[in-house]
């Protein structure tokens, strides 16, 4: 009994030390450019780009496997910032910016199950069990993570209405 405990403990310590030393000795330097890009991104790890979180997307952009335009919440502003940082030439015409969207709750369908609240990366949904939930518009980033979680399809993405303050003159058509 004691021999077994001792041998396992010793084995554990030896292997642990070995791993620790290896981690220090053979450490792979993280790409600092990836870190810089991650800092530029929204950081909500919403996954709309198809990569595991913002850091994953940043790494993919640096590799060249993802386009700088892959982040929908970041929009054109982020795409330009990334392209500038990486010295890429950017074709924004392919980026269909259908305007920002945010989640909203259809109050007559919501059953108050709290599932959407758990996945929201910015805590933008308020509500409690068996109470109708609601979305705080200022906090919602439009990542759509909550949409698939809703068992009653009460969560829908709605375009943010354009107001006089946000309206932008259309670009004149080319001559």
């Amino acid at each position: 009994m004691i021999a077994a405990i001792l041998s396992l403990t010793l084995l554990g310590i030896a292997l642990g030390l070995g791993l620790g030393v290896a981690a220090k000795k053979f450490a792979v330097e993280g790409n600092p450019v990836v870190d810089e890009l991650t800092a530029l991104m929204p950081g909500s790890n919403c996954g709309q780009c198809g990569y595991p979180g913002c850091a994953g997307a940043a790494a993919a952009i640096v590799d060249g496997t993802a386009a700088p335009t892959c982040c929908p919440p970041g929009g054109k502003a982020l795409a330009t910032a990334i392209a500038e940082k990486l010295g890429l030439s950017l074709d924004l015409s392919g980026m269909v910016d259908e305007g920002p969207k945010i989640a909203s709750v259809s109050e007559e369908i919501c059953i108050g199950c709290c599932r959407c609240i758990k996945v929201c990366p910015t805590d933008a949904i308020v509500g409690a069990a068996k109470q109708i939930h609601n979305v705080i518009r200022e906090a919602c980033t439009g990542c759509a993570a909550c949409i698939d979680r809703c068992p009653t399809e009460a969560m829908v993405m709605k375009p943010v209405p354009v107001t006089l303050q946000h309206w932008v003159w259309p670009k004149p058509a080319l001559a």
Partner: protein
């Protein structure tokens, strides 16, 4: 434009045919009150006003219906007596045709004023801050078109130490003559308003700049200001955009405002003549800003001229009483150079509406844009010394940073470049688009920063909750152990008692 001006580089601006007469010479008219008034809550720069009336409530002319909220905002008053019939949305007089919050009033036709209370016998005995407070309470905003809350401007001016007040009677936009009419018909009121603003801002002299194509207004103002040596009426040459704050300042003082500064940084505050008249009305008569003089001009009006219009009167109601000769090719609110193209006539007149122009097809002279021939007419015309052709080329290719490097932020959107362009390139629209796009990007950046803060807050919350849960579990475990120990002790005591009784 003389040869000397060309040599010394003083060749900014354009000289459009002013087309102010005969509308400017016709006497001021008052129109019948329409059945409904549609009063937007955002008629000024800043936050929209907050309604303080309920649907169905009776209001008198001049009664407060929405109060200012936030640091930069302006109060809004009922433009006529009647009943509040809706508090909802109204189409804004804006090229986008988007709605803004507003209050609808069903007029009773009596047009009865609210009794003005507390009119000071001698306003010059009041504290300057009190004058500013009264101007703010009357909802006075800049009447030249920018609609910045006037009281705030005076207060800020007082803080930064103003020595001179410039009163803008330039009215350089073609077609418009509402300021001309104010100066001709209400010169005494304007001069009194100027004296009140001098008192409120702490300035010692006032220069009234009037373009020399308005000799009647100059004569009237000179006569009214004759007994006040601190007010000087200064005719300036007629040239567009003389009415721009920075250009009038240069014409009157000979100095130039730096690109990143305002006239207040040089000790000068600029106000419009219409604002001076509104200040007079607010202080001397206790009457808030609820109506204004609007120029009806353009070939399509049957009877052009200047009319007194209550704020909130629909352009379509104006057309119903003032009548059109023909269907206008373009309906514009404001002047033809900087005004707003109206998407429809069902929009209200607001505090900043200087005119409603109904232009015929010949006047609008529409045409398709042609490629730029790099003639540089726009460079010569630009009053701020920018390169419109280069800026528009960059904006066309979405190189907004490049356009900013060329001075996009200094563009005053006066329209001189587009006016002189032989290829009819809509240059100002390019600049408007770029400014809007840059603002949208700034907003996205702010939003991303806010998102980062929210994500951090969530991570912190999750961590805190796990810790609390662990603590609660530990507490419960400890309690259970304690309870078990107590039970065991009780059982042991019971057993002992049992054994004692059996013994």
């Amino acid at each position: 434009m003389g040869i000397l001006d060309r040599i010394f580089g003083n060749h900014w601006g354009v000289h459009p045919d002013d087309r102010k007469r005969p509308a400017a010479d016709l006497p001021l008219r008052r129109l019948p009150m329409p059945a409904h008034l549609y009063v937007p809550l955002q008629q000024h720069i800043g936050a929209p006003a907050r309604p303080v009336v309920l649907v169905g409530q009776r209001v008198l002319k001049g009664q407060l219906i929405a109060e200012a909220q936030g640091a930069t905002s302006a109060a809004i008053h009922a433009p006529s007596s009647g009943t509040v019939s809706a508090v909802g949305e109204i189409t804004a007089p804006h090229a986008s045709g988007l709605p803004v919050p507003g209050i609808t009033i069903a007029c009773d036709g009596e047009d009865r004023w609210l009794e003005a209370a507390d009119i000071p016998a001698d306003p010059f005995a009041l504290e300057p801050a009190e004058i500013s407070r009264r101007i703010a309470a009357a909802g006075v905003v800049g009447m030249g078109g920018a609609t910045f809350p006037s009281a705030l401007k005076l207060t800020l001016g007082k803080k930064s130490g103003i020595s001179t007040l410039i009163i803008n009677g330039g009215e350089c936009e073609p077609y418009l003559s509402c300021d001309d009419r104010v100066m001709r018909d209400f010169a005494v009121d304007v001069v009194d308003g100027i004296r009140l603003m001098l008192h409120a801002s702490g300035a010692t002299t006032a220069l009234v700049g009037i373009e020399d194509n308005k000799p009647e207004a100059i004569a009237a103002m000179k006569q009214a200001a004759a007994s006040f040596p601190e007010i000087r009426v200064c005719p300036v040459p007629a040239r567009y955009p003389m009415g721009s704050e920075k250009h009038l300042f240069s014409a009157l003082t000979g100095k130039e405002v730096p690109a990143d500064a305002r006239t207040t940084d040089l000790g000068v505050l600029v106000h419009n003549v219409g604002t001076a008249a509104a200040v007079h009305d607010a202080i001397r008569n206790g009457r808030p800003l609820v109506e204004r003089i609007v120029t009806l001009n353009g070939g399509a009006w049957r009877a052009p001229g200047n009319v007194v219009v209550p704020v909130g009167m629909l352009v379509s109601d104006l057309i119903a009483v003032a009548e059109l000769k023909e269907q206008p090719a373009r309906l514009i609110m404001g002047g033809p150079m900087m005004g707003t193209l109206l998407p429809s006539a069902i929009v209200p007149v607001v505090k900043g509406s200087s005119g409603v122009l109904a232009l015929t097809a010949a006047e609008a002279a529409d045409g398709d844009a042609q490629p730029c021939i790099r003639c540089s007419s726009c460079v010569r015309a630009c009053p701020v010394g920018l390169l419109p052709l280069e800026m528009s080329a960059r904006i066309r290719n979405e190189d907004y940073a490049g356009a900013v490097d060329l001075g996009l932020k200094d563009c005053i959107a006066c329209g001189c470049c587009a006016y002189v362009c032989p290829s009819r390139i809509p240059l100002v629209q390019y600049f408007g688009h770029a400014k809007g796009e840059l603002a949208a990007r700034d907003r996205t950046k702010l939003r991303n920063d806010a998102t980062k803060r929210l994500v951090a807050a969530r991570a912190e919350r999750l961590e805190r909750e796990t810790k609390e849960k662990a603590e609660a579990a530990a507490r419960r475990k400890a309690e259970r152990a304690k309870q078990k120990a107590a039970e065991a002790a009780a059982a042991a005591a019971g057993a002992q008692a049992d054994s004692e009784t059996t013994a």
